[in-house]
Amino acid sequence: MSSAQRQKIKPTWLGKSLAGCFLGLALAFILVAFFAWYGAGGIDAPDKVQFNMWIIPLLWLTIFSFTYLFSSAKNAWLTLGGLNITLYSLFIILRTWL
């Protein structure tokens, strides 16, 4: 198999859709969690919690939409899963010890 062929994206609907749906949502939550604590205004800015809630679906759906660009479902799960694990771990470390 040549490298050009290998990079062609396969649709693999179910796998990518599930990754986008669940891992995309988890990723949206953790990105907003970082923003809530360490982003502009900090955790106590008035009404920021409402903004944070609103922005979660926007992030989620954007990630979801572009999940189909992964070359395969496996790749989508590995990349999004890896990002999630890294960010959640980092968040727990920061919140527990700092």
Binding site: A36, A45, P46, V49, M53, I56, P57, T62, F66, Y68
Partner: protein
């Protein structure tokens, strides 16, 4: 712009499937959403209010409230509303049901002071036509409740998430040909090309509107769940700070005057005028006064007005939905999300703009379905699943419109004879809708779309005619004049639908799904 062929193919798949799954429910959501922009005018059209009993703004609210407190201390202590704009009885409370929720048999006690300075109390049932249009918009007609929301709200929430995917994928598959063919509406290349060009033009031209609607609907449907999820990332700080209730109960006898309440509200920010005030739990330790504040020159956050929450005894402002200064940047952004969905930022022109955009949105879903059907029919004209989808598309789209027009007409006549016609609205909508869907499956798309469009045209024309007939028979025909805009719009739509019907008629039966 060049996009790799495999990416295009993938997103074509995403676009097709998300579109075909959600198209029909979103069609109803969008055109009913257009109607909600004028729901109060429609309700007023269906049940014109009779002669005024009071003059707005010149009314002495304090005398009314004082007399009502003396005569009905218990009911008034539970809470009451004061409508500052109406020329009907301004003071009211619910004797059955409550303000929120979707009960069709709510009973109101409405009070006013007559010319002899006596307190007059009347039982009223609420005309729910405007709320039912709103209900159709938010649920696409799916009945049933889950938790404190209608199940249809969640269905539309899921549909909207898929619709977001459809939007993004639709733009991606258009990228390679976007610049060349954006404004090209090619009629000479056949009906399907014409519909495809129109579909693309409407989709791209109103893309920002559609992205906003898609993601705000997801929030409206699932905000409780998202808040629950988000709270896991916050520590023990309370998520929303609520003022602690006072140590003692208040009593309505000590309620400051209405003028003081209104003054406190006006002093909070310039430019805002109170138009409605609702008092709640006046004899408890956590009383509130909710004021609807109108400001025609500002972006308001509710569907019609901004809100201000007062402590009715201390006259402190507890909360508001007003745009805040630099401190309130987050609240302001959230406020603008609401306002972008409700179309409450552009005055009267903005309202018409949203009305048209909503209809164009409905067109987007309808044309999308037609394109899908056309492609399938070309591959295999006899496939049963395609035939089924064709029937469903015509049945649901044409059926839901004809059902609403028929219900409006029915409402206008039933209201002449029945005090609470709310249930008749509901029955007539579902009856006409399901009868028409069945008719489509029975008779086929060609026949059903022709007669459906003719039906819509004649029923719409009947709206203006009904107004005319009722006005001629009534003693005061001025009240029919106030909703004239509804009659004029209905006449315009009657012509448009009649024209569409003519177009459909001369198409060969196999291409009936695509009139052009």
């Amino acid at each position: 712009m060049r996009v790799r062929a495999d990416i295009l193919r993938t997103y074509q798949g995403v676009h097709t499937w998300t579109g075909i799954i959600t198209g029909l429910v979103l069609f109803i959501g969008f055109y009913a959403g257009s109607l909600t922009m004028y729901k109060h005018e429609l309700a007023q059209w269906a049940k014109p209010v009779s002669a005024p009993v009071t003059k707005p703004y010149t009314n002495n609210y304090q005398t009314l409230v004082d007399q009502a407190i003396v005569k009905y201390p218990e009911q008034m202590g539970n809470g009451f509303s004061l409508d500052l704009l109406t020329n009907q009885a301004p003071l009211s409370w619910y004797s059955q049901g409550k303000e929120r929720g979707m009960a069709l048999d709510n009973q109101l006690q409405a009070l006013h002071i007559n010319q002899q300075n006596n307190l007059v109390i009347q039982q009223q049932s609420e005309n729910k036509l405007a709320d039912l249009i709103d209900y159709l918009h938010r649920t696409a007609g799916f009945a049933g409740e889950i938790g404190h929301d209608q199940s249809g709200v969640y269905i539309l929430g899921i549909a909207s998430a898929l619709y977001f995917l459809a939007l993004v994928s639709g733009v991606i598959i258009l990228l390679p040909t976007l610049i060349k063919t954006f404004f090209a509406i090619r009629k000479e290349k056949g009906a399907s090309r014409f519909w495809l060009d129109s579909h693309n033009l409407v989709g791209i031209a109103s893309l920002p509107f559609h992205l906003i609607i898609a993601f705000t609907v997801v929030v409206f449907a699932f905000h409780d769940l998202i808040y629950d999820g988000l709270s896991a990332f916050y520590d023990d700080k309370s998520f929303f700070q609520r003022p602690a209730p006072a140590a003692h109960n208040y009593h309505i006898a000590n309620l400051p005057s209405i003028d003081k309440q209104l003054l406190a509200a006006k002093n909070y920010a310039t430019g805002y005028e109170p138009i409605h005030i609702a008092f709640n739990r006046l004899n408890t330790n956590s009383p509130t006064a909710t004021l609807k504040m109108s400001n025609s020159s500002a972006v308001v956050r509710g569907p019609d007005t901004d809100y201000l929450f007062l402590h009715p005894y201390t006259l402190e402002v507890l909360n508001s939905s007003y745009p805040q200064g630099d401190e309130g940047v987050w609240g302001n952004i959230v406020g603008s999300f609401f306002s972008l969905h409700f179309g409450t930022y552009g005055g009267e022109w903005g309202r018409w703009g949203y009305f048209i955009m909503g209809l164009l949105g409905a067109f987007l879903f309808y044309s999308g379905n037609l394109l899908w059907l056309d492609k399938r029919f070309k591959k295999d004209p006899n496939k049963r699943s395609t035939r089924f989808m064709a029937n469903l598309t015509i049945g649901v789209c044409v059926g839901s419109i004809i059902a609403v027009v028929a219900t409006l007409l029915q409402a206008k006549w039933t209201n002449l004879y029945i005090e609470n016609a709310n249930y008749s609205y509901l029955y007539s909508y579902y009856l006409v809708f399901f009868v028409f869907v069945a008719y489509t499956f029975f008779k086929g798309t060609h026949h059903a779309s022709y007669w459906g469009l003719i039906g819509i045209a004649f029923l719409s024309a009947g709206m203006g005619v009904s107004t005319l007939v009722q006005a001629l028979l009534a003693d005061d025909f001025f009240k029919y004049y106030q909703s004239g805009i509804v009659d004029i719009s209905a006449a315009v739509f009657a012509l448009i639908f009649y024209y569409c019907a003519k177009k459909v008629r001369y198409k060969s039966a196999s291409y009936a799904v695509m009139p052009a």
